[in-house]
Symmetry: C2
Subunit: 321 residues, 2 copies
């Protein structure tokens, strides 16, 4: 691939990201993109992935970096019950990144963009010392679901899987120390894939509209995100330990055994699965949601083990990690 210059790269991205989606009136290449108004409210969010903070290139290819940064951003739309409409991609590209590297990175973004039906309509290219991918996502929902609507008496629902991504990252870290070239066992391979290639639960989020009273996407671990949801809804959330345990996948149980980690601990504290944690009345629970607890009066989030309540610690701090 020829030497990198902005003109060539913009042409590559224009070709790669071009979309004929009806909502895109004007795409890449102008001062700004133009989207048809539609009649539904707009939902917008931005998410950054920074090298050395959010990803480690020893464990992740550049296509994975592009793919997962995009899915992580779209997950915020899923948590609002929104349909993705468009995305903007701001890349900070260090000089060590070759044209072939950028091709891989943007191929990952393009794949995630296609899978989520969320065309990339614009962006920004800049030089910098460290690679970062900042993705803005725009969606629409007839009735976006906030974090603040949980009410005492409702159920606590889990949509998607917990713990796999944390087990996958743990497996990569330990095998890079112990057995760098060994093939992982199938259960761990599944966990590693969950970490490298998370999927935003868009269809599942859409199913929650009109049913769930509050939703948050589990990016920092269900413990931390349950504390957030409880705080923003001014309620207490109680996770039933046995119900949570019943949701854990075979791959997590087997992976955790091999890693000598507690699967429940991985599920509670592991982030980056992009599951959805929601609340809603029992009668409205959609099939994809599994009940893992309940909403009551009070504050904070707890795990119930029989009659014992153990408080969950929140306060995951993105500025410390």
């Amino acid at each position: 691939m020829a030497a990198l210059n902005e003109r060539r790269l913009v042409a590559l991205l224009d070709a790669r990201f071009r979309s004929d989606a009806p909502q895109v009136s004007l795409g890449i290449g102008d001062d700004a993109a133009v989207l048809a108004a539609g009649s539904e409210p707009w939902v917008c969010s931005v998410d950054a992935s920074v090298q050395g903070v959010h990803f480690d290139l020893r464990f992740l290819g550049l296509e994975d970096v592009g793919y997962r940064s995009f899915q992580a951003a779209v997950s915020d739309l899923a948590a609002m019950g929104a349909r993705p409409r468009a995305a903007l991609s701001a890349l900070v590209l260090p000089r060590w990144l070759s044209a072939a590297d950028i091709d891989r990175l943007t191929a990952g973004q393009a794949k995630a963009s296609q899978e989520t039906d969320c065309p990339i309509v614009g962006g920004n290219l800049a030089r910098g010392g460290e690679l970062s991918v900042t993705t803005t996502v725009l969606g629409q929902a007839e009735r976006p679901i906030p974090r603040s609507g949980a009410r005492p008496g409702e159920q606590l629902w889990l949509v998607g899987e917990l713990g796999l991504a944390a087990a996958g990252l743990s497996a990569l870290r330990s095998s890079s120390r112990a057995h760098p070239s060994e093939e992982p066992a199938p259960a761990l391979a599944r966990c590693i894939q969950a970490w490298r290639r998370p999927r935003a639960l868009i269809a599942e989020g859409r199913e929650l509209v009109g049913r769930a009273s509050a939703v948050i996407d589990v990016s920092d671990g269900v413990a931390a995100d349950a504390v957030r949801l409880a705080e923003q809804s001014r309620v207490r959330l109680v996770i039933d330990r046995e119900r949570l345990r019943a949701t854990l996948s075979g791959a997590l149980l087997e992976g955790a055994r091999r890693l000598r980690r507690s699967p429940l601990q991985l599920a509670l504290s592991g982030g980056e699965d992009y599951a959805l944690l929601a609340t809603g009345p029992r009668a409205l629970r959609p099939p994809s949601a599994r009940t893992i607890g309940f909403v009551t009066t009070g504050s904070g989030a707890f795990v119930a083990h029989g009659p014992r309540l153990r408080p969950l610690r929140g306060g995951f701090d993105h500025l410390r990690h």
Copy 2:
């Protein structure tokens, strides 16, 4: 100010950026922000300012960094003829940045947000090795103006001033070498202020709707941006040297004299003034637009000096600078 943590910082930003603008249904603090649909098309853009690439903290305070990065992003909305509706701010914060530093940075963003009537409704906080501010802006326009609509026979218009920001940066660079503590002359102080505190020309952009056939904001110098506009409209743009000279401000002429630089050269190649370059029929020129040339058939952008045409070089490359 107490030690920095995410919770405290989000609370600060929530208080600082809070808005009661009617289009904001849900602001900072949820998975995503929610905006009322409205009936007009949406215009969206993202712009990044990276330390050491887009700004140099020897010449710019952190409040300036916040202010100008926001105005630069909003300038893309001005160039579409759009009204600002909302912004998202993604900050990458290095560890050397203190809580007081972040207070200054975000105070600059808040000031620009208020001046442009563009509430910050969400964002992202991340650690990283170098400071960057990535601003997504969303606006609405009944009829957004693209770069591609210029037609032969139309006039070429300039809205705003050229060259001041480049003169200001040049003054800061040379005085930091020669006379670090000397007060700049009033003309140079005006140029420095233009570089530190640019203003997106929103009202002027709005005036161009229904009048201009094409608009671009001059972020990389009018020479480079005229080449882009010509290419995207598939026309030739000719800048009349004497007409361009007639638009130069007294501050630029005096500043350039003191810097021993050509004011015309500063105007042609200097970026970051965020003026607007537009095309349109003579009869529709708004009062704020000054005619500096014309559109004809062919390709490329040229400066005409009497009968001589000198080609302008485009190709400003953000990945080289």
